[in-house]
């Protein structure tokens, strides 16, 4: 969870390979019932975070308004996931908590992938001392245990959602930089790029037409795979109290609050947000895995 889960794919993915016939990819993807189910699940999860106010009778409690009279109610008809230490409806808080969790996960991946792609492309293309400098920088950042570095940064920058996202992105971008640099280097050796050089096509055009399109697809696949880990990492930092400030709902924060009451029999406060994290992270991972399998010509070698 602290190291991006897509690591296996980083070394073994179809990333450096040619894009395959799209018809086949779609066919394989559609046949993968698990992947399709997770796509549906993700749509539902994102939609329920987005439309949270309309899906619960207690939107204010979801936003953090206390309701002391109903503390620690076990799950029931009126409160399907029970209520927490301030009497707030856990179901509503899980819905609202999805907003910060999902949003920050997306933000982490977009930031890390964006910055990493630029750095990797620059390193791979321009080469020379710049390449050397960027690669040494990734070495150093990769040497840090990711969560600890994120903790340090988040502490230093003062806890908060933005800084948590920033802290995790700082530890993640080197991965993307390395992938993209590797892809760029292989592409530079590809004959169609050489042919373009021989034809006198300008460098910016070569980058725009021949290199970027062949890099973006694998980066997008990688991004999907990393969303699952992003959710876990974000909630880990929130669990430590380094993210969202109360009373805003967040899955990691909710578990950290609920943990204190678990041993006195109040299991529901911590369980449901954890389940939410698990299900969404699982769905992202399964989806990414499905795309990966479908796009990798070796796993579908049929004829």
């Amino acid at each position: 969870m602290m190291t991006p889960a897509g690591f296996a794919q980083r070394l073994f993915g179809s990333l450096v390979r040619d894009p395959v016939k799209t018809g086949g990819t779609v066919w394989f993807f559609r046949r993968d019932r698990i992947a399709v189910t997770s796509l549906v699940a993700l749509t539902v999860i994102c939609a329920s975070a987005l439309f949270a106010p309309f899906l619960t009778r207690h939107p204010n409690q979801g936003r953090g308004e206390p309701n002391i009279v109903e503390r620690f109610q076990a799950p029931s008809q009126s409160h399907p996931f029970g209520t927490d230490q301030l009497g707030r409806d856990v179901y509503a808080r899980v819905l609202f908590g999805g907003r910060s969790s999902l949003l920050s996960a997306f933000a982490v991946v977009i930031l890390a992938a964006g910055f990493g792609t630029v750095m990797g492309a620059v390193a791979g293309f321009i080469g020379g001392w710049l390449d050397e400098a960027i690669m040494r920088a990734t070495d150093i950042f990769l040497a840090f245990p990711p969560l600890l570095l994120a903790i340090t940064i988040a502490t230093v920058l003062e806890p908060g959602l933005k800084n948590t996202v920033l802290a995790i992105s700082v530890t993640w971008w080197p991965w993307y930089a390395r992938i993209v640099r590797g892809l760029t280097l292989t592409l530079r050796e590809r004959h169609f790029v050489k042919a373009a050089q021989v034809m006198g096509v300008s460098r910016p055009t070569i980058i725009r037409r021949h290199v970027l399109p062949n890099i973006l697809a694998p980066v997008l696949v990688q991004g999907t795979l990393d969303l699952g880990s992003a959710i876990l990492t974000v909630s880990g930092l929130n669990f430590l109290g380094l993210g969202v400030r109360p009373p805003t709902a967040d899955w990691g924060t909710m578990i950290s609050e609920g943990r204190l009451f678990v041993q006195s029999g109040v299991w529901w406060v911590a369980t449901f947000p954890g389940l939410a994290i698990f299900v969404s992270s699982l769905a992202f991972n399964l989806l990414g895995d499905g795309i990966q399998v479908a796009a990798d010509p070796r796993t579908r070698r049929l004829s």
Partner: protein
Amino acid sequence: MSGELLRVTGLEVDFETPFGLSRALRGVSFAVESGEVFGLVGESGCGKTLTGRTILGLVPPNAHVRGSVSLHGRNLEELSPKRRREVRGRQLGMIFQNPGQALNPVFTVGQQMAAIVRHHRSLRGRELRARTRTLLHEVGLPNPGEIINAYPHHLSGGMQQRVMIGMALASEPELLIADEPTTALDVTIQAQILSLLTTLSERHRVAVLLITHDMGVVAATCKRVAVLYAGRVVEEGPVTTVFSQPYHPYTRGLLASLPEPEKRSQDLPVILGSVPSGLEALPGCAFAPRCDSALPACKDTAPPEVRFEPSHRTECHLYDSEGR
């Protein structure tokens, strides 16, 4: 040379694909005699590699195999996987197109050969090493002592292929399946490897099934040849007659399209069109769409087998059954 060693009869292999069932082999039949070098030629996608793999029983799990592969008259397709593996290990051997990839990069040559020798002969220690050296010596490697301790990437392509041949000979097989054994090598090395194969075949009475796309290689090494097209043998016979007097229009076209000294500075005769995919239904002759001399019957009736001499046959409507 005596007697039939391998007979492949009506071998069909289908694959499931996203686009439907693909027929990779559509009834391959030919026979190899003990101790002979037999060529299997064809262009890419005609099914020659798959034929070799099917004989060994090494097809991907999504392949459906019909027809029979018999060794000394015993149908291998009816054996249990375990027995099949034993036959594969003891009576068959295989060498590959790219020897650099067919040797395991993280074990020394000695370790790899020993694994196989040990399995077949249950030799230990000193005897094992001696046997390994003998095999390496056998395939013309001058200094087995050094080669044993070398990793594959230390060896040149030609040496790697010699090691592969040595490994394939470890079990003293009766049939060696050589799948494009020289395609990845330079011509001079190719000549060495081909002459090694012929020598070994004579010395050990091993039959060689030489799978290749190179007509020249067949002419230089094989006694008999089968020409594959779209998963079927269209012509089979002695190399001398097949190459000097080809009957099937495909064989003829293929031979004519080769650049040769006397055709210098001329346009080469070509076969138009392209090889049909396994997905196409081919009720008649598979070559009919590209054939200059196609008859109306070629399109929808499967061509008959025609024998010219006892050992030269083709499948074509142009000849009647008496072979004219």
